[in-house]
């Protein structure tokens, strides 16, 4: 990707202001800064790589279309996350309403991806790690979209309860109880391996 030396040094807010003046290259820089983390969060919620790609693309398209109205009341990434998480949650709810369609399309959840760098010399330990990952992914898939959203935002981004509550439009108490419930459910599913 071609980047000018000036653009990469600008803050998110300065880039937003350039976008508002119609500078597409500034938006390209914003996308390049945030797409990976947004993708991780979205995939954590929808649990499907291709669907996550579509949602991330849709997220940035919406961001671009609405960026003229962005006043900087929150940080840019919080705003982007809010749109992405809401799209992902709505997507999961729609999918839940159409399980037959999902089955007919032959789609399922992603299996854990093996990272070659992490393959060690201890086969027993690798096997246990893979088992934990497999169970963990299955346990995450069983959570509701709202519970997935809080646990993913906390695990990936380390956001505070206040930030998560602002992002999801719920109270801090709700975030705390959802996190507590989600962790409890995940631990139950991993009970025999950890």
């Amino acid at each position: 990707m071609a980047k000018t030396g000036t653009i990469v040094e600008l803050s998110d807010w300065e880039l937003v202001q350039r976008c508002q003046q119609g500078q597409v290259s500034a938006f390209q820089e914003l996308v390049s800064r945030h797409y990976q983390k947004v993708f991780v969060v979205v995939q954590g919620i929808v649990n499907h790589r291709e669907d996550a790609m579509d949602i991330v693309q849709d997220t940035f398209l919406r961001v671009y279309r609405k960026i003229s109205g962005f006043k900087g009341d929150s940080s840019f990434y919080t705003w982007v996350y809010r749109i992405a998480v809401n799209l992902a949650i709505d997507f999961k709810r729609q999918k839940k309403r159409a399980p037959m369609e999902l089955a007919e399309r032959g789609e399922g959840y992603d299996e854990p991806v093996e990272d070659p760098d992490r393959i060690g010399s201890d086969p027993g330990r690798d096997l246990q790690r893979k088992e934990i990952e497999r169970r963990l992914l299955a346990a995450i898939a069983d959570l509701t979209p709202d519970h997935k959203a809080v646990i993913v935002l906390r695990a990936i981004e380390g956001l505070s309860y206040k930030e998560i509550s602002r992002l999801l439009g719920c109270s801090e108490g709700t975030v705390m109880s959802r996190l507590h419930y989600a962790r409890k459910r995940l631990l139950e599913k991993l009970d025999s391996v950890i």
């Binding site: 597409v24 705390m176 962790r183």
Partner: protein, 177 residues
């Protein structure tokens, strides 16, 4: 003094550094003397680390071009008028949700109720009176409606003798209410 159950319920928030100072100190003190809760704390730490590792490893290798290419194609293409209109209306924070629709419907219903209940002159403005004739399968029916007094009067008339096509459902009485 917090029980083990209470401590276990607070461990997640404690690890997230979301407890107030007093509660955090209680948890810390309890963990120093309780092996079971300490074990639970370690399980939670393991879970958080595993979650981060698993989620991040599954999302590795997403090329920027694959995201940007599709976004750029879409933003270069002019949006239809309804999309532009919606973008102006929509605050952009989240898509329309059923809960929002229900809330708006509830507020509108309450508004309409209070308008009719406490502003009778408003509903009086919308009162109407009219008479209409209906063709009821051969029977002659006339309706008189007055919304102000909420009255409806129905007249049923004998059909003319030269018309023998009378519905079975038509009442035999010459007039009715």
């Amino acid at each position: 003094m917090m029980s083990c159950g209470e401590i276990k319920d607070s461990l997640g928030a404690w690890l997230d550094q979301e407890l107030d100072a007093t509660a955090a100190a209680q948890v810390r003190a309890h963990l120093e003397g309780c092996a079971a809760c300490l074990k639970e704390k370690e399980r939670l730490e393991f879970l958080d680390a595993a979650l981060k590792r698993v989620l991040e490893s599954r999302s590795a290798g997403v090329a920027f071009e694959s995201i940007w290419g599709a976004v750029e194609r879409s933003i270069r293409k002019p949006a239809p008028w309804y999309q532009r209109l919606w973008d102006r209306i929509d605050i952009g924070l989240s898509p329309l949700r059923p809960a929002w629709v229900l809330s708006v419907a509830a507020v509108l219903s309450l508004g309409a109720f209070f308008l009719v209940r406490y502003l009778p002159e408003w509903s009086a403005r919308n009162s109407f009176t009219f008479v209409e004739s209906l063709d009821a399968h051969g029977a002659n029916v006339a309706l008189f409606r007055d919304s102000g007094s909420r009255t409806t009067v129905i007249w049923l008339f004998e059909p003319p003798e030269d018309q023998d096509e009378v519905s079975e459902e038509a009442p035999a009485a010459s007039t009715g209410f």
